[in-house]
Symmetry: C2
Subunit: 509 residues, 2 copies
């Protein structure tokens, strides 16, 4: 039961040491909120919702006060004068960044935005099934106005453009100029590949739909696969929730999935995806618990870890060779539809669709790039919120040649904007690019990676990720972390090569 | 998701209103700690223990700071000058009491005592199975010294004797003089009844041990019985833990039990007992959530609610008439050993035993009174900690005529003292007396109580408890609450009458 060590520094850094010790209360509040949020989504009876919302709101206020306390500003300022090793210096940089974000927004605006987000999200929950954007238009316009106000306040404090100031909360150091450049290369290259991919998909044999599988058997398979991938059940749990997510804290990672008897691959791929997130959290540097330098680097790297495990590994031939016998044993089934090749066809289906969360890895980036452009237009004022449905439908038609039959499958499909989250969407695709780049590097480093994975031995992969990604916490920025691990900053090259290989070159095999 | 209303007051009480609003953060921290403690005991994987301990310790520090914040003292002082209705006035009184308790003890002593309690509890966990008090003697002596220091500090601040100052944390307003007087009447009266009770027990037919029952069936029965008693699963859960307890918050009550296939009555009676606690929490005044006047009155009334449901109701003939068919159906069994009379004999067995938690209601008070005397002697210095084992064995022999074969079944059996809890034990028996007193009053108020209970209709009982106990929160002190509900302050009379009736008069029936 020993307390976490204060983040180590050079000996003569008393202000830094005091700052790190003082930050523990911020971490404790964050950890408590993480666990209470997990409980809310997995365990809490419905009648507890209002009380839980009050508790979480109060803890958020306390956390905000703790981050913006004068002691933090004072200690951070004095620590800046002290001689610090690179890791404490990185920790100080992260503390300053978090303090700037918190202090930038006046408390009244924080509260107003929080209330507007609650109101808008509640309206969205009604508007989506009703297929009716008009029902959420007013609360959305009010929320957007407050988001723009927040972005302006953060832009001033951080010295960034408003969109970049919001992005920085999810992807520290992220910049739209950098994203623009990546997307400008990615989109045309991917668009050029798509017709050939779809043509090859059309030549595939027709597979029957999967047979129903009882939840208990799916659960056993999910636990077995998560454990094989390296998830340690002494330091975490696998539970159920309406939307799969990874929560908890690094020493007690709580991942969830959802079960559908009619489609066992959905729960399993959810588990595999979240296991990637969970392994990252669990592998963060143990000596830096409770310090921001010990936290995950940002959403790009976080998503890279889930997508590396789900997409790069989990839909690959070697993985499916490992998976097929495990599935047959867990479900008590046999036959050609349970062989690796049949599982591979199911895991690598590509189609132009309307819904992001159902999208395959080849079309997913288009869902993201159109949202990225739309949210920037909404934030800049170039797109009025009332005009969103039309702009959305045009963007979908341009990106993937499909047109939503209504707002439910159009601009109402995602919760993000209606909850006030702007600047989040690009990290999905940046994460997919980083996943391809990291896995390519890992395969270069581990010569027999494919055969080890086919044998169900994920230790070499996990070892490489631990050493090159997880253990680095937030010591480096995203590009520096990737450059150190792969030899180059973030790029679309490995992702495009991966798509070409899996969906064109290997499709004929 | 609306925030809880600030505790209502007279309109012209701005300081009081600000105080009540400010107190919400104390409540939020307490609620968060309650949920995280529940999770720790029911859900958390073992590897999460150290991180959870750190989080809870940090939240405890934050809560202590929030209670002792200068704003609280200042607002409480100004609120004392304002015209307040009785309920806000009660709330102000409780806030002041909690602030006094927190502010009385210097932070250094709080931390030292917390560390000493952790060390002593860890030593106790080794010493108990080893049957060896000597192994815990030193850490226990160190902890006791800090408890005595704490008691002295609280005695100064609260203007009470040291023991009473500790007692006040569990039983607000409790006084050892009052307890002495009650126990001085209770003990000889009960001692006089015991020989006749045991003689009648000896005449009972020998019942076979209960057959093993699968946990799944026990769980179904427990849920059914808890629901019948009035537990609302939309506002709570029933889970498992090593030691049954009730946690959570009033709108989301988390009760637990433990299952033993070899003794189904143990899990069921645990559930019934905890349901009594849970119904109390759930019935606390909803308008006063997050304010101390809306909290449970203290451990005497809390224990009265669990014992009323478990002992007064749960082991009564009418209840067992309701229970027997439910058990037969849930377990798929039949035969004379599943008839109400056989269940009643099992539920009302009396024996002189060594272990408090296994004791029946007729001998339980002796376990408490001897601990009460010993803990006062330890606190006053009249009993040296090293002399505890001998004093314990003498006290057991004098109270119940039994002598422990070693410390495991003697002075090491309970965690309380080794965790630093002094002043808690008497509330078990004060709660048993209050339970008898309240149930007697409820039966006077509800003429057909027995037949309603036998029919599985607990609504009249729950309605009476809601109106006369639960809804009163901490508006009144314990004696005033009992006097309002039953016509008299706390007394042993109804308890003695109950014991006489159940174990002597009705035993022949």
């Amino acid at each position: 039961m020993s307390a976490a060590p204060a983040a180590p520094a050079a000996p003569a850094a008393p202000a830094y040491e005091a700052l790190a010790a003082r930050w523990r209360r911020v971490a404790a509040l964050g950890d408590a909120m993480a666990m209470l949020s997990w409980d809310r989504q997995t365990t809490m009876p419905p009648g507890g919702a209002a009380a839980r919302a009050d508790t979480l709101a109060e803890l958020a206020v306390l956390r905000h006060e703790a981050v913006t306390a004068p002691e933090i500003a004072d200690l951070a300022s004095r620590a800046g004068e002290e001689p610090l090793d690179p890791r404490p210096a990185a920790n100080l940089r992260e503390i300053r960044r978090l303090r700037l974000h918190a202090a930038a927004v006046p408390p009244g605006l924080v509260a107003a935005r929080s209330r507007a987000a609650s109101a808008c999200e509640a309206a969205w929950r009604e508007a989506r099934p009703a297929d009716d954007f008009a029902a959420v238009a007013e609360p959305f316009a009010r929320l957007l106005a407050l988001v723009r106000e927040t972005a302006a306040a953060k832009a001033d404090a951080l010295g960034k453009a408003p969109y970049d100031a919001l992005l920085d909360a999810y992807e520290p150091g992220g910049a739209s100029a950098r994203i623009d450049a990546v997307f400008a290369r990615l989109e045309p290259a991917l668009a050029a590949l798509l017709p050939e991919i779809l043509e090859r998909q059309a030549r595939r044999p027709a597979d029957p739909p999967p047979p129903p599988v009882p939840v208990e058997r799916q659960r056993a398979l999910g636990r077995r696969v998560a454990a094989a991938l390296g998830f340690d059940f002494a330091h975490g749990r696998l539970d159920e929730s309406a939307h799969p997510f990874t929560g908890g804290v690094p020493d007690d990672v709580r991942l969830t999935t959802r079960y559908d008897e009619a489609d066992w691959t959905s729960a399993l791929m959810g588990t595999v995806h979240e296991t990637g997130h969970a392994l990252y959290e669990r592998g963060l540097p143990a000596d830096w618990r409770g310090q921001p330098a010990g936290d995950a680097r940002g959403m790009t790297i976080h998503e890279s870890q889930s997508l590396l495990v789900e997409m790069q590994v989990g839909r690959s031939r070697p993985f499916l060779e490992f998976l097929a016998p495990a599935v047959r044993e867990a479900f008590g089934v046999s036959g050609p539809e349970w062989e690796p090749e049949a599982l591979r066809r199911r895991a690598t289906r590509v189609a132009r669709g309307l819904v992001r969360v159902d999208a395959d890895e080849a079309t997913y980036p288009f869902h993201v790039t159109m949202r990225y452009r739309l949210e920037r237009a909404l934030l800049s004022g170039g797109l009025a919120p009332a005009d969103l449905p039309g702009a959305w439908d045009e963007a979908m038609a341009a990106a993937l040649g499909v047109r939503p039959p209504g707002d439910r499958l159009g601009c109402l499909q995602d919760i993000h904007w209606y909850d006030g989250a702007f600047g989040y969407f690009p990290t999905y695709t940046l994460g997919a690019l980083a996943a391809a780049q990291l896995f390519a590097a890992a395969r270069r480093a581990v010569a027999d990676m494919d055969s080890r994975i086919a044998a169900g031995d994920f230790a070499p992969l996990l070892g490489w990720l631990r050493e090159n990604v997880h253990a680095w916490g937030s010591f480096l920025d995203t590009d520096a972390l990737l450059a150190r691990a792969t030899g180059a900053p973030l790029s679309e090259a490995d992702f495009l090569a991966h798509i070409r290989r899996r969906y064109i070159e290997e499709e004929e095999a």
